[in-house]
Symmetry: C2
Subunit: 450 residues, 2 copies
């Protein structure tokens, strides 16, 4: 449905642009949410993009559009733009979004823009740029409501009426002491239900969830999700309140992290690869396939080592695919369960041996089932018991080892703080291919007495 | 960090339970968020779970704990519980969470509970149970603030003080006409900044995003994420406001859908498989591996068909793994990019041919690169040009076809509204295995003139 609506929007905008129906366009552009307009941009030429952009009357909507555009399109779009115009738009945007956009621009351009921006705004943005992109400090907004403990409910409401108009998430009111340290939290809801003269310290919640500026964004997101809160306060090294991370950013983090994990496991390893050109996509995917190529070459050298066996028992070759396939697929199952379990917090690295032994047990059972099945096929086809047993044993050992390797590798990587998703995909698959083929030929050679 | 904190909590609770240190336990249990307590439950015996649960003083916290427990543990836990006690807890929970829990219980038990619940509450829950679990109606909460258009800001604040105490998300105030149809929205924030006598219709936003009860939950989640809103109103067939979907549920939906996609692609296909027993995990994974087994068997019959060629050229077998591996890996890349692109909305089913042709182009280029590389190795090893060319051509065609199949299959499935993630994983991989092996032997047999 979303797709259909987008298509209708793209089609009408293109038609109106062709016809030069300015008043119609003005109407559509200013009635459509910038998040929807951003979806139209990839289908337009650069000059049409600019024509459409200039029709947006509200500077704030221009800012929303900026943050919604994909990186490539945004960079292309602003290249030809007047810097003062860009500055005017950025000044109306939340500081965290500005920091995001500025981080994407060439250094020279971003320096000039920061210089041109009003002092207050640029200081906020520079403050944010100090933190790593993937930490609480890098994603927080520095706009929040912080009030002193003895402020009354009435005064708090008055302060909302006078200032704090640009605060993104005015639902929590944070309470700080004289040094700016966080001591409690209250909500807009509480303000309107307590007697007006009551000071914040008498009704605030003292038990506040908070995070440090250097906490990884995924951890921050997990805390917000776990406790069903709309924003979490961010504290610096001295426990001063310096920003908040809001729930809309948390959603983006989860979606982005899930996409990254999925793509890394499949050996693509970069977000937005689906919108890249053929050549760029090729360049991103080429190195990941190299692991698989090296693995294939190793398997080739192992097999050619057994050429004698192959000449005497040509049908040995016929079972290579099923042994590799069964090992590869159960290995993928194990590593995917572990990687996703780690990401959702349902598997913990301290349980490494419990998890790995369980996977090994599953691998052995499934290996026995499919080992018997495939051995039976071999026996029926060739009637050589020694050969059927070799095939069966190869399936069992390959599946057991694949489940072991598939779970152990990501668990071990996570334990030493390396992203487990990277460890999976081509690397684990390739290792399993090599191991399966080796086992097969070693077992067959031994049992067939070659 | 989260993990460490959990471990400390589990360890201290276990220690205190052993020692029977009731006052310590009471202290910990009532100071710990129910979401954290739920993480302790899997490590405890059923009787210890009940001991801990009885120590929770706040009935509402017991409810939070109920919703946080994993399905298996929850079902086990409530089995021995007094129904009246369960009813008492459910009555204090948001209706959407109650509907979720009741949906998990055996029919007989859930009927009795619904009968025992206070009329108002059970009607709300039964209302929700009418809708599909995965639709807006199934995940919405029926508690929201709806006011008439001529209510003044002051009256609205007063109504917040008197009623609506149990509303989960009191940040949006929905405005309805005399028939309960949604006409606008205002926020708590606006209420406190406008003059008290102003009626809602004078400052409400008329342009409200809303969804219908039967909209798929993933679509609903996308809308909330797209427009950065905290809740979206849900309308029935007659456009009456019947509930809202809140942002915390949206986070859960995204995480759940991402996990489901990942597991389906890996051929596991069920959430929470990581917390299941060895036997259950085996049973879930067994059928998915069957696809791979069948594929391996087909490859076996194809290869045995070429036994003559293998007897004359034993080294043909040595390149089976690399050809299958390269095809399999690029196929996984393509299908993963497509499945994830469809899930995030960056790929649309109406662009099916653009996407598939692009993947085919990438497959051809990467096929040429690796085809040359692997052919060179074959040439160096065996010095037979015809053989090296066969290997190279097999790599190229296998990779090109794999990229084509890997993108076309999920796109086509999505087009006819079948979950593309299911189509990927073992099925696509298996198809590619069979195709790769066939191409290899057909090309080699032709070129080597066997």
């Amino acid at each position: 449905m979303q797709g259909d609506r987008n298509k209708i929007l793209v089609d009408s905008i293109k038609r109106l642009l062709r016809r030069g129906a300015i008043s119609h366009l003005l109407n559509i552009v200013n009635k459509t949410h910038a998040a929807d307009l951003s979806a139209v941009f990839p289908s337009l030429s650069l000059s049409d993009q600019h024509r459409l952009f200039e029709m947006i009357k509200d500077t704030e909507q221009k800012g929303v559009l900026f943050s919604e555009l994909e990186e490539d399109i945004f960079l292309n779009f602003v290249e030809g733009m007047d810097l003062d115009e860009i500055v005017k738009i950025l000044e109306r945007m939340p500081a965290d979004d500005v920091a995001d956009l500025i981080g994407r621009l060439p250094d020279e351009m971003s320096d000039t823009i920061l210089e041109k921006m009003k002092k207050e705004g640029s200081e906020e943005v520079e403050g944010l740029l100090r933190y790593d992109d993937d930490t609480a400090g890098g994603i927080m907004v520095p706009d929040f409501i912080a009030l002193k403990e003895d402020t009354t409910a009435k005064e708090a409401i008055e302060s909302l009426q006078k200032e704090h108009q640009d605060v993104e998430m005015p639902f929590y009111l944070y309470v700080v002491d004289e040094y700016g340290k966080l001591t409690g939290v209250s909500s807009l809801r509480q303000l309107v239900v307590v007697p007006p003269e009551k000071p914040l310290k008498d009704f605030m919640t003292m038990d506040v969830f908070s995070v440090q500026t250097d906490m990884d964004q995924e951890e921050v997101a997990k805390i917000v999700a776990r406790y069903d809160i709309l924003a979490v306060p961010v504290l610096d090294e001295t426990n001063r309140l310096v920003g908040i991370v809001t729930v809309d950013d948390v959603i983006d983090i989860f979606r982005q992290e899930a996409t990254e994990d999925i793509l890394k496991m499949a050996g693509v390893g970069e977000e937005f690869v689906e919108t890249k050109s053929v050549l760029k996509s090729t360049r991103i995917r080429l190195p990941w396939l190299f692991a698989s190529c090296i693995g294939g070459m190793i398997a080739f050298f192992i097999i050619s080592h057994f050429e004698e066996s192959l000449i005497r028992y040509a049908y040995l070759a016929a079972f290579i695919p099923v042994i590799m396939g069964m090992g590869g697929n159960i290995g993928t199952q194990s590593s995917t369960i572990v990687v996703r379990g780690l990401a959702t917090g349902r598997i913990n690295t301290r349980d490494i041996w419990t998890v790995v032994l369980k996977e090994l047990a599953v691998g052995c059972i499934l290996g026995l089932v499919y080992g018997f099945l495939i051995a039976a096929v071999a026996q029926i086809q060739y009637g050589t018991a020694a050969f059927a047993i070799s095939v069966g044993l190869a399936v069992i050992s390959s599946m057991a080892v694949a489940a072991l390797v598939g779970s152990l590798v990501p668990m071990a990587f996570a334990k030493i703080n390396i992203d487990p998703a990277v460890a999976t995909g081509p690397f684990v698959t390739t290792a399993i291919d090599v191991i399966s083929v080796s086992f097969y030929f070693i077992i067959a050679t031994a049992l067939l007495g070659i």
